[in-house]
């Protein structure tokens, strides 16, 4: 596909205008002290804090811990969610037996799982990973199931006419046909991975992690630390989504023709 636009670079990058303007406004407010620096430290100060934490060797472990948790929860939760979604979306038996249980369980807000998880997995890393996995699991399972149920009868009939086995029907017709829903499932799963990560790090006791950095900053009333953590989560969250979409397009994009 050729690039369609011969528009100038500044126009093509219009998505960056708003963040740039906000940054400029924030800088100005720091210079003129519109807000007390205690509540809103200047961007420079936040950058300095971030850099200092990196140099002191705090940020690296925080970052890798957080990214590792997100990756684990996303991969495991997506995999389990995909399996459950297939079970609910493909077989009427699965739907009959499990949809009530599934729908009840997904009504429990994720923080509601915390006490149970701590009971099962202890107060450590296990609970946090399980927590994120659960957060990813439900939206992925739900989107997968609804995507598979929504595959048009015309395509499903093709599987009967050509006498495909159940496995072939899934692999050659249902999953490719449901791909747009699977993509939505993956994106929602990723979002939920970040949401649950922050909740997990804030709700469970002290450990490394970006959200934990936010917590530390709050307790010590160091707003630069809080802002640094929030911005890092936003940046890495956006990066992970961008990476997911790129990887998706490279591997599965060709199946998305309609």
């Amino acid at each position: 596909m050729p690039k369609t636009s011969a528009a100038p670079a500044w126009w093509r990058r219009r998505g960056w205008w708003l963040p740039a303007a906000l940054l400029a406004l924030w800088t100005l407010s720091g210079v003129f002290e519109w807000v007390r620096p205690l509540f809103l430290p200047s961007p420079l100060k936040v950058a300095q804090t971030t850099w200092a934490r990196w140099q002191d060797g705090y940020l690296g472990p925080d970052l890798s811990t957080t990214l590792g948790r997100v990756a684990f929860g996303f991969v495991v939760g997506s995999f389990l969610g995909l399996l459950a979604g297939i079970g609910l979306g493909v077989s009427r038996v699965g739907e009959r037996y499990f949809s009530a249980t599934f729908n009840a369980a997904r009504q429990v807000p994720i923080p509601g799982w915390v006490p149970l998880l701590i009971l099962w997995f202890g107060v450590g890393e296990g609970s946090r990973l399980a927590f994120i996995t659960i957060g990813v699991f439900f939206p992925v399972a739900l989107n997968t199931a609804s995507g598979l149920v929504g595959v048009s009868r015309q395509y499903k009939e093709l599987g009967v006419v050509y006498q495909l086995s159940a496995w072939e029907r899934l692999w050659r017709i249902l999953l490719p046909a449901a791909l747009p829903s699977l993509k939505a499932a993956a994106l929602q799963g990723l979002t939920m991975a970040w949401v649950s990560l922050v909740a997990a790090e804030l709700l469970t006791s002290m450990s490394a992690g970006l959200a934990n950095q936010i917590n530390l900053g709050r307790e010590a009333f160091k707003m630069d630390l809080v802002y640094s953590g929030v911005i890092l989560i936003a940046v890495f969250g956006a990066l992970s989504q961008w990476g997911l979409l790129k990887a998706w397009d490279l591997t599965l994009g060709r199946f998305e023709r309609r």
Binding site: V161, Y162, P176, R257
Partner: protein, 260 residues
Amino acid sequence: MSLDLGGIAIRNLNKSFELEGRTLPVLQDINLSIQPGEFLALVGSSGCGKTTLLRILLGLEKGYHGSVFLDGVPIVGPSSERGIVFQEHRLLPWLTVAQNVGFGLRELKDAQEKRRRVGEALQLVGLEAFENAYPGQLSGGMAQRAAIARALVNKPRVLLLDEPLGALDALTRLRMQRELDVLVRKEKVTTVLVTHDIEEALYLADRVIVLSARPGRIKRELVVSLARPRDRDSREFLSLKEELLAEFHLDEEEKLERAL
């Protein structure tokens, strides 16, 4: 396909649907023999059960009374002996035209043989230049030709056509009717066409069966012995068309009377 295979026998076929506890007869006392290599058209107004009859021949529709045989063997489910073209092309949008046509050949493991057969089928419908195109890039007529290639790639004994040209524009439709006429002659495959277009039926079929509506019963049987390609403006063609149209009008009047 040799001319002695592809014979269909339908005996005392009755089919009804259950709707909100009521039994709705769809097909009643259908007895019909189709000769190997014959082109049969089923016409009737919508709701006359002609598509249901075709789906029974395909093996998709279960739960009927009576029996249906292909070359003396009961039809119990879909099989590669029977190819189908639906009103919608039903090509898988993420596969190329060649891959879609090859979908009908999945039992064939020999890749080279598979390629050869797909190429042959594409040539038959004049799509050899589009083997790597995707369905979304094809016009309606081309997509339907690819669907015909997919149905024929297995060298089936029977070709089932469920209003295959119904969704095409008038001009494409006329051209496709000509192509289908030539193609089916060449393949010598038994063909059952469901259509609500009387002219299409008369142009293509050796025999036209008119089904009455609700329940579907064989109301009229008309052998068309005009030479091919048929001239739609010839006197004989027009008089046959008139005859069939009269059947339809009768049907409409009966329905009206019953309603009043």
